[in-house]
């Protein structure tokens, strides 16, 4: 990257206001060819909004965009795409029911005779492109039958395959495995070598330092800092994001959720909070046994496709089983019934929030209170005061940034939607909580907050099953770790054995690598 070159894309004094909130307030940012530019900030800082202004989704209220040296105003995402700005939006935005190939090639399908789509070539090309991303799958399958990680790789492949001068990635790694993140990084490095400018949004600081050249920090819609990333200390970066003193950040232990001891769970003869026995489903799960006692956090480690999410789903009856049973507090659950599971006190925070959790049109308040309504009502009459209280508590604890509790959830930033969903399951005061990637897309400050809350709940006697691709989070958050591979539990780590290295070793053990 050479600073002397002219910026390819530039925002000048951009402002964007939504009802009740100023999302962007005089933001300027210059993007140079061949640089990877990190865009960071707390949840709701305005990152996604800035990106959507760049790509014609939102029209700025003030300020201007300069693209290739001349003022530009993109009316629609299509205009921006045609001009050479390619974007992976924060929410995986593909069409779940269409095939993988058609998603990948939508808008630039290969044409055969008479201008009709040449399907054979389309499938071949899709396979070839995806293979370059380490994704080997039947490209004719509907996209939704693939895991979130693979879907995200498809979105990535789609964005990069478009002939672009600027590639924008809004939290591209949120559903990726470490191995896939490596693939992503090599793609980014290649883009950089080709002189393409990349905007990279992530809450994972390690990633920023691994691939980014420069960084712009947004705070409450304003640019808090912009400059080279190398030489900018991690803690300094965090303090810029949070807008606090460096010293305060250092002493507050905001980055590290330190755990000095591992609890053993209450095994005083009582049955475990949840016990799953021999969960089996053809090609997915092969006799998985899991037990979580009250008061402990059990981590599930393993690669994508190892069956972790499926195990969690099976426990709450959201995945049909060929055999196996689940006991909550010693009592067997009716299989295949999510209602029975919720009633028994088991809550699952699902991996795919968009499809399985958030109700976008409802307010923050309603979304939080939804699952807890039975416990907040008497004789079917809901107590408004109680709901307000619960909502208030969780909005404060999780630092949910919304104009008011009555704002529709779809208007919240991605990370804040995530927090709302988490609040929903915490609000039911469950006996057993299954968390599938609970801190995905959540900023550093709030992440520590979420982890502390989970820990506190465990202290109070809740049993927690924690799934995370983030090994650090597993090690810091879990008392005990079960390692899964290819649909089976292949190892258990407890006490001092709970380290990233040991988990990695256990995943890799016994030869063959899982094919994801």
């Amino acid at each position: 990257m050479s600073q002397s070159a002219a910026p390819v894309l530039e925002a000048r004094q951009i402002s964007k206001r939504f009802p009740g909130v100023v999302a962007l307030d005089g933001v300027s940012l210059a993007l140079f060819p061949g640089e990877v530019h990190a865009l960071v900030g707390e949840n709701g800082a305005g990152k996604s909004t800035l990106i959507k202004v760049f790509t014609g989704v939102h029209r700025p209220d003030a300020g201007e965009l300069i693209y290739n040296g001349s003022p530009a105003a993109f009316g629609t995402p299509l205009d921006a795409q045609r001009a050479g700005i390619s974007t992976i939006y924060q929410e995986v935005n593909l069409v779940p029911m269409m095939s993988v190939a058609r998603n990948l090639m939508l808008g630039r399908e290969p044409r055969g005779r008479l201008g009709v789509i040449d399907t054979a070539r389309m499938y071949g090309e899709a396979e070839r492109i995806l293979a370059g991303y380490g994704v080997v799958t039947d490209v004719r399958r509907p996209l939704r039958t693939l895991g979130m990680g693979v879907q995200q790789m498809v979105a990535l492949a789609r964005a990069v395959a478009i002939d672009a001068r600027v590639v924008i990635m809004d939290e591209p790694t949120s559903s990726l495995e470490p191995r896939e993140v490596e693939t992503l990084f090599s793609v980014i490095r290649k883009l950089k070598d080709d002189g393409i400018a990349v905007v990279y949004v992530s809450h994972r600081l390690d990633e920023l330092y691994a691939v980014c050249d420069r960084v712009t920090v947004l705070r409450d819609g304003k640019v808090a800092h912009t400059g080279p990333l190398a030489g900018l200390e991690r803690l300094k970066l965090i303090s810029l994001m949070l807008g606090r003193d460096l010293d305060e950040v250092k002493s507050g232990g905001l980055t590290r959720f330190s755990r000095d001891r591992r609890r053993a769970g209450k095994r005083d003869g009582a049955p475990p909070a949840v016990r799953a026995e021999g969960l089996t489903r053809r090609q997915v799960l092969h006799g998985v046994d899991v037990a979580v006692w009250s008061g402990e956090v059990v981590g599930l480690g393993g690669l994508l496709g190892a069956g972790r999410s499926e195990t969690a789903k099976a426990i709450v009856g959201a995945l049909r089983l060929d055999s196996g049973r689940v006991l909550v507090a010693g009592l067997p659950l009716r299989t295949g019934s999510t209602t029975a599971a919720v009633r028994a006190g088991a809550g699952l925070l699902p991996e795919d929030r968009k499809a399985e959790g958030i109700i976008p049109e409802l307010s923050v308040r309603e979304n939080i209170a939804l699952a807890a309504l039975p416990s907040l009502s008497r004789a079917g009459v809901v107590s408004d005061a109680k709901i307000d209280k619960v909502v208030e508590v969780f909005m404060r604890r999780l630092k949910i940034k919304a104009a008011s509790p009555h704002q529709p959830v779809q208007e919240l930033s991605g990370g804040n939607q995530q927090k709302v969903l988490l609040a929903r399951w915490l609000a039911i005061r469950p006996k057993i909580l299954l968390l599938d990637e609970p801190t995905r897309g959540i900023d550093v400050g709030a992440k520590a907050e979420v982890q502390a809350l989970v820990d506190e709940l465990a202290e109070e006697g809740l049993g927690v099953l924690l799934i995370s691709s983030d090994l650090e989070e597993l090690v810091e958050g879990a008392d005990r770790i079960l390692v899964m591979r290819e649909g089976a539990v292949v190892g258990e780590l407890s006490g001092d054995d709970v380290t990233e290295d040991k988990i990695m070793a256990s995943i890799a053990e016994r030869g063959a690598e899982s094919d994801g």
Binding site: L78, M98, T137, L146, V284, G305, L319, R320
Partner: protein, 321 residues
């Protein structure tokens, strides 16, 4: 890999080709049970009477896949017929152009309203249903005037034919093939699926959402008008009492054919199978004799309910799978 591909595939095939399989089964049962069922004459009459519904259903398939609905097609069908009969006094060209232009315009307006103002398709096309029927009554003295087809070339279009089938059957076949190609093998078709499957996502992927919607309703209006035109040619008159509730039959056929009412999935083959299935059921009931057409509606209704239940179960199998 997540899920078992086997089960997933089975349920997908059932979803897409279930109507075709049931159709085949019914035809076999019908042939065995009634001597007069599997005759050339009967087959031709099923094909001829189904062709008008089929033409409308092709347009409806696009609309429903795009996540919308078009309730105006029944009214457009009569309107088109009356205009064609009226226009036939000025010759073949006017008999064709007048109704197609009028129905296309209605479809276009509906599409623009839906795509540009974000009004619900249900409401807009319900207004279309009422408004167009009113227009039709206005030009036919409250339905009292039945224009007769004056142009014999035009009448031939509905009555002539080869190999025992009338032209509308061939026209339907050509349209079905064209629609299949349009849906599966062109960018427009892909956009229709994308808009119905995830409208917001489609917009972010660069799909011209509004334009796609406009085209879809324009097409539906045109096809409903065309069906009316051909029917007027067949009957040699612009009958004003047709088409009431036709939109519901068409929607039923499309849904039975495996197109999801929620949008994003479906196809023309299924729709044609759905239309024929309803036609065969009707024919079988006629064979039984002393059963009225009211009974036919009961059977069609039951069938529709069955299909929707099956779709739900299949959909769930795919999700859980």
């Amino acid at each position: 890999m997540i899920g078992s591909p086997g089960r997933e595939q089975v349920s997908r095939v059932l979803q897409q080709h279930g109507a075709l399989m049931v159709l085949a089964a019914l035809v076999i049962v019908g042939s065995l049970a009634f001597d007069s069922f599997a005759t050339e004459g009967n087959a031709a009459s099923i094909l001829v009477s189904s062709s008008f519904t089929a033409i409308i259903a092709i347009g409806m398939t696009f609309v429903i896949i795009s996540g919308g609905i078009d309730l105006s097609v029944g009214s457009l069908f009569v309107f088109g017929g009356v205009l064609a009969a009226y226009g036939s006094q000025y010759g073949l060209f006017v008999a064709l152009a007048l109704p197609l232009a009028a129905c296309g315009l209605v479809g276009l307006l509906q599409g623009l309203l839906i795509a540009r103002t974000g009004m619900a398709p249900f409401i807009v096309t319900l207004a279309g249903l009422l408004g167009v029927r009113g227009l039709m009554l206005a030009i036919s003295d409250e339905g009292a005037t039945t224009y007769l087809v004056k142009d014999s070339a035009f009448a031939q279009l509905g009555q002539g034919g080869v190999l025992g089938l009338t032209w509308p059957v061939y026209i339907t076949a050509i349209l079905a093939v064209a629609a299949m190609i349009l849906l599966q093998r062109t960018a427009f078709g892909q956009n229709v699926y994308a808009v119905g499957g995830n409208e917001q996502g489609a917009a972010l992927m660069g799909v011209p959402v509004a334009r796609t919607k406009v085209y879809v309703y324009l097409m539906s209006g045109l096809l409903a008008g065309l069906a009316g035109v051909l029917n007027a040619a067949r009957l040699s008159s612009g009958v004003t009492i047709l088409g009431i509730g036709l939109e519901l039959d068409v929607i039923a056929a499309v849904v039975i054919g495996g197109t999801l009412l929620t949008g994003g999935a479906g196809g023309i083959t299924g729709t044609i199978a759905g239309v024929l299935l309803l036609g065969v059921i009707q024919s079988l009931i006629n064979q039984v004799g002393n059963l009225t057409s009211a009974f036919q509606q009961v059977v069609s209704g039951l069938f529709l309910a069955l299909v929707v239940v099956a779709q739900r179960l299949l959909g769930r199998a795919q999700r859980l799978g």
